[in-house]
Symmetry: none
Subunit: 416 residues, 2 copies
């Protein structure tokens, strides 16, 4: 079966394009052992859109068309698809009522333009949109399946999981298993050196190493006739990687670092507070991105100015004068003081030079101290990160959360 | 002229794909006033590749084919293109000599497999590769131009700048100007209703509306013979949009909301502190993502627990008991107390239910109060946001920064 994906939207042809939707669909197809034969990106221009839809439908048996279902004048997927398939668009009063109710729920009146979203191709099934206004559509013409989906990633993903993926199961061609190992505390070449003799020769096994600032990922894939077979093929390889990389692996099921430390804190019934200087709130933001984080995350202080460090968190003014705000001593003081002041089990701290300005010969941009204070002592690490302001902030947050993870694992180990 | 881009490589169809090559080509085309009508990504599978190349050449007048020119067995662009065009592949001893010399220069012997890279389509011109082994090819068949380029970004970019861009100049259609208006405080349909009669009929002007949670963008493009003309064409449209949308436009030069409020704070010599509950540090993180933000951003309190709200920021316990932590009254108290405690000009606050848990019938997920305290009073807004936890956090940060922006604009206006 030939599968094609068409992504519609002029913005997708600009240099600012982020291709999340077709990546998501590809991943979902892979889980069923299916792969797209091609994907096409096309703008809103009606003649180009018509040409591309025509060519995709001519060539593929299953076509996903993503985007162009919004309420505005340049959302033309519905109309052009109707032309290409020689079908009428039918007005569905029920869909209109659902859209109106959505606006009402937010205390708003539905603008007239949203009416367009209640038109459905003659003969198409409606795929409900549970998190947005544009419904999806599933239509079969001359044995070909054509699926129209909304562009906003959250709407697309919810709709796909709920109404599209289950129907695709009948074409499942075996099984593709993917597993991602996430690693912190090692560089890409350190990881490569540790695992290079483990690369598989079996064509049904694939290993890809991806490097991000502050995080290395190993993507493992195995193909097989069924789940059991893919698991059997993957298992020895997975074990070998885990043996080799040990505690540096923080996640084997897709969890982010903030989720992993959250689970450990909850398990150990410990509480946390953070004192952030150079990260400016990012550590708190990441920790509180996890649902239920209020169980262990109590509070945070973004002590950005020296004055805030002194007045709010009681860092001695002389300490800053003597060593500078970006120093081992200030990181220690921040971690210890936030822990005591907030009455929590663990205090974390960050202080550094995120750049682009503010660097000197002895304290360059990227110099960052990360601290962790607990009941029996305080650890501070001096780091030197590369990259722009955002990368330095992110790597700092990653480092301090990784310190926390390693500390919590030690405590959990002692308790057994 | 219809322009198509085809990117070849199975890795490009995996979920980890980064589309840098076709973004580069798009940018280069834009500089000449040209736009691709579509781009297609296809894997190494010979039958899919043949189908896609055939369909691209059928439909477009100018086709860029990127990738699949390497030495390995899955590099099949040369052979498949020869089939599609019914052309022979001719061996070029000179190219082979260049490739061999390249290896020799690095003290290596050329592997036999690289021989394949010395085959050129009958009638094609060779585009030299100055930083790699695979040469590019430029062939014209039945008035269509087909350009084969290597996939590695550095090789592609060097070759494109040196040998492709100069030849494209003869099709230069003038100049393309792009400008983005970013809007907060209105929904996509509200924006649409305000501007729909302004959509240009001139085919040299294009308007695209993009909606993100908490932010709407209008992308304007104008084509012209030269820069002056594109500016003249864009100007009245831009002015009309600005007239219509007024203060709701927060950025016309690509700035983010945190940069805009930063510039205003610096200009007005005002200082800021934030008290964050449901945003958990995101407001501080965004504000401190701007270089130099330490000039006006003093500190932040992430008062996540009720205890922190009471102990750290002096919110009366009775207030929380009576109205709940997510209430108009607590948002006001947080904004006022952070302002006084930090000794700053303006205090901001957020308190809400980010979900997915914690909602009730009277206080559903997405209910958020945002507060702003200044010398002469306090504003609190009750919001109801839709979406998941991340979207609700982001929209909250967007809302409170937008309240700040509108307040600062008012102050700036009064000072004139």
């Amino acid at each position: 079966m030939f599968i094609g994906i068409v992504a519609v939207g002029s913005e997708l042809l600009t240099p600012f394009y982020q291709d999340t939707d077709s990546l998501f669909i590809t991943q979902k197809l892979n889980e069923l052992g299916l792969e797209p034969a091609f994907k096409i990106v096309v703008g809103d221009d009606p003649s180009n859109l018509k040409m591309v839809l025509q060519m995709a439908i001519d060539r593929a048996d299953l076509v996903f068309v993503v985007g162009g279902l919004g309420p505005t004048e340049d959302d033309r997927t519905r109309e052009i698809m109707a032309e290409v398939l020689h079908k009428k668009l039918i007005f569905h009063p029920k869909i209109l009522a659902t859209i109106e109710a959505r606006f009402e729920q937010r205390g708003m009146v539905m603008p007239e333009s949203n009416r367009r979203q209640a038109y459905i191709l003659e003969g198409a099934e409606v795929l409900p949109n549970q998190v947005g206004t544009a419904p999806g559509q599933w239509i079969e013409v001359n044995g070909k399946k054509i699926i129209l989906l909304p562009g906003p990633p959250r709407e697309l993903q919810t709709m796909f999981n709920e109404f599209v993926a289950p129907r695709l199961k009948i074409w499942q061609r075996g099984c593709l298993r993917r597993q991602v190992l996430k690693i912190s505390g090692l560089t890409e070449s350190q990881v490569e050196d540790l695992i290079k003799d483990l690369y598989p020769r079996d064509k049904d096994l694939k290993v890809t190493v991806l490097a991000y600032p502050g995080q290395i990922e190993i993507h493992l894939m195995s193909f097989g006739q069924n789940e059991e077979e893919t698991e059997q093929k993957m298992f020895p390889l997975l074990q070998a990687f885990i043996d080799r990389l040990g505690i540096n692996i923080f996640s084997t099921q897709g969890e982010e670092l903030e989720e992993v430390v959250g689970q450990l804190l909850r398990h150990l019934k410990m509480t946390l507070a953070v004192a952030e200087s150079c990260t400016g709130g990012l550590v708190g933001h990441r920790l509180t991105s996890v649902p239920g984080s209020s169980d262990y995350f109590m509070e945070g202080y973004i002590v950005y100015s020296n004055q805030a460090k002194i007045k709010t968190l009681g860092v001695p003014a002389e300490l800053i004068q003597q060593h500078g705000a970006v120093s081992f001593e200030v990181a220690r003081s921040l971690a210890e003081n936030i822990r005591l002041k907030s009455g929590v089990s663990i205090g974390l701290s960050t202080t550094g030079i995120a750049g682009p300005g503010g660097g000197t010969a002895t304290k360059p941009v990227g110099l960052v101290f990360t601290g962790l204070a607990h009941a029996k002592g305080t650890e501070v690490i001096q780091n030197r990160f590369l990259g722009g302001r955002e990368q330095i902030k992110f790597q700092t947050s990653q480092k301090v959360l990784d310190m926390l993870r390693r500390y919590l694992l030690k405590i959990a180990g002692e308790k057994i």
